[in-house]
């Protein structure tokens, strides 16, 4: 399977901080974790009412769920299993066959 399934169980969180306090809290929470920023391109670019999408490794998803709940920051899981989405993107099996 593509990338040797390294993204199995990884998730992408979508978070939209609605005020300055939530922006501060979110920067603090994400600053302590190793996440891959999809948008914006880094924690220092997070601003109020702007969508934040972060890719979180499977071992860290539980921690982030807990931290966001603790900070009462609204969020949703944008992509629940990254590996599946990668395979869907290129129709992995069918497109390889086609090629």
């Amino acid at each position: 399977s593509p990338y040797n399934s390294r993204y199995a169980g990884d998730q992408v969180f979508r978070i939209t901080p609605s005020n300055a306090e939530e922006v501060r809290s979110l920067k603090k929470v994400l600053g302590r974790m190793k996440v891959d920023f999809w948008q914006p391109s880094g924690a220092f670019l997070i601003h109020q009412n702007a969508t934040v999408d972060v890719h979180v490794k499977r071992n860290d998803t539980r921690v982030l769920h807990a931290r966001l709940k603790q900070e009462r920051i609204g969020y949703r899981v944008f992509i629940s299993n990254l590996q599946k989405e990668i395979e869907k993107q290129t129709g992995y099996h069918s497109s390889r066959m086609r090629r």
Partner: protein, 308 residues
């Protein structure tokens, strides 16, 4: 061969480079392949010159895709645009006029090393693959490395960050090669277009400050026409405006450099998909995304043939 090439799937770097030469072989009167330099890892940096070879001093449009490796819809769009232009030349009056009166320099994959790495190792790699200093981290953000307000607000000086500006401006061979090409052709290039994903926006200078560009009204109306043309295809709305206020402030960006280098129309497209897929736009959506964006790029190019 060309007729079997599938424009509705994502292709590896090798396939795209082979495709470029195939387009030149099958349409020599409209397509030539230029090499503008070599990447950090030594790969050639190919650019297609598209358009009727008539007058040497024709106005030109530059379009690059794949500055950020993980934004795969970019290279897919550059290929689609070339295919569309060639297949509708002589059949569609707008395309015929554009290819007769303009030259298009199209770089399907700007960040060849990063794109290759995103196919074979890390699907979400963004930067180039250069190695600087003693840092164990690789790569520079190719959209923070241009010689305009370099490494100021909105860029990072830490080699491990995704927005790392590099050890110095134009440190990346890919950036230096394209900057050199555009400097050399500055009198002819009237529009610079860079294709990114996935915020669904059309951005123009400035990125590095909140000021208004001198030719704002012309650029603003070109952007408005472009997003209207895009919307007319499938009803998808794109926001548009200065990058600093529409997205966020960033320094060392290619559109600011192009604009400051004398190119009056500089745009960055942020293609789909902000709704469900992010960087993982499925192949089933390549067609509508590329079709709508082709209308927008044609609208920008047509605007160059009118007085503003």
């Amino acid at each position: 061969s060309q007729s079997q090439y599938d424009y509705e799937v994502y292709h590896s770097l090798e396939e795209i480079q082979a495709w470029m030469f195939e387009m030149n072989r099958t349409h020599p009167e409209l397509v030539s392949v230029l090499s503008v330099g070599k990447s950090y890892e030594g790969r050639p940096l190919y650019v297609l010159q598209l358009g009727k070879r008539s007058r040497p001093q024709k106005k030109a449009v530059w379009m690059d895709c794949g500055v950020h490796a993980r934004e795969w819809i970019g290279p897919a769009f550059c290929q689609w645009f070339v295919k569309e232009a060639i297949s509708s030349y002589k059949y569609d009056s707008v395309t015929t006029r554009l290819l007769n009166q303009l030259s298009f320099y199209i770089m399907p994959v700007f960040n060849v090393d990063g794109y290759h790495f995103s196919w074979n190792s890390d699907r979400f790699w963004r930067k180039t693959r250069s190695k600087h200093h003693k840092s164990q981290c690789r790569g520079v953000d190719a959209n923070r490395n241009w010689k305009v307000k370099w490494c100021d607000e909105g860029a990072s000086s830490h080699p491990c960050d995704d927005t790392y500006c590099g050890p110095f401006a134009e440190s990346e061979p890919e950036v230096k090669a394209v900057a050199r090409f555009l400097r050399r052709h500055r009198k002819r290039v009237k529009a610079y277009i860079s294709i990114h994903a996935y915020a669904q926006m059309l951005l123009y200078p400035y990125s590095y400050k909140y000021a208004t560009i001198p030719n704002f009204s012309c650029v603003e109306s070109a952007a408005q026409n472009a997003v209207s043309a895009l919307y007319s295809a499938h009803g998808v709305r794109y926001r548009y405006g200065p990058a600093s206020t529409t997205l966020y402030v960033s320094s060392g960006s290619s559109i600011d450099w192009a604009y400051r280098n004398g190119i009056p129309y500089a745009f960055a497209f942020e293609l789909r998909d902000t709704g469900h897929f992010g960087f993982l736009l499925p192949e089933s959506l390549i067609d509508p995304t590329c079709a709508e964006t082709t209308r927008a790029v044609k609208a920008i190019a047509s605007g160059l043939l009118r007085k503003c």
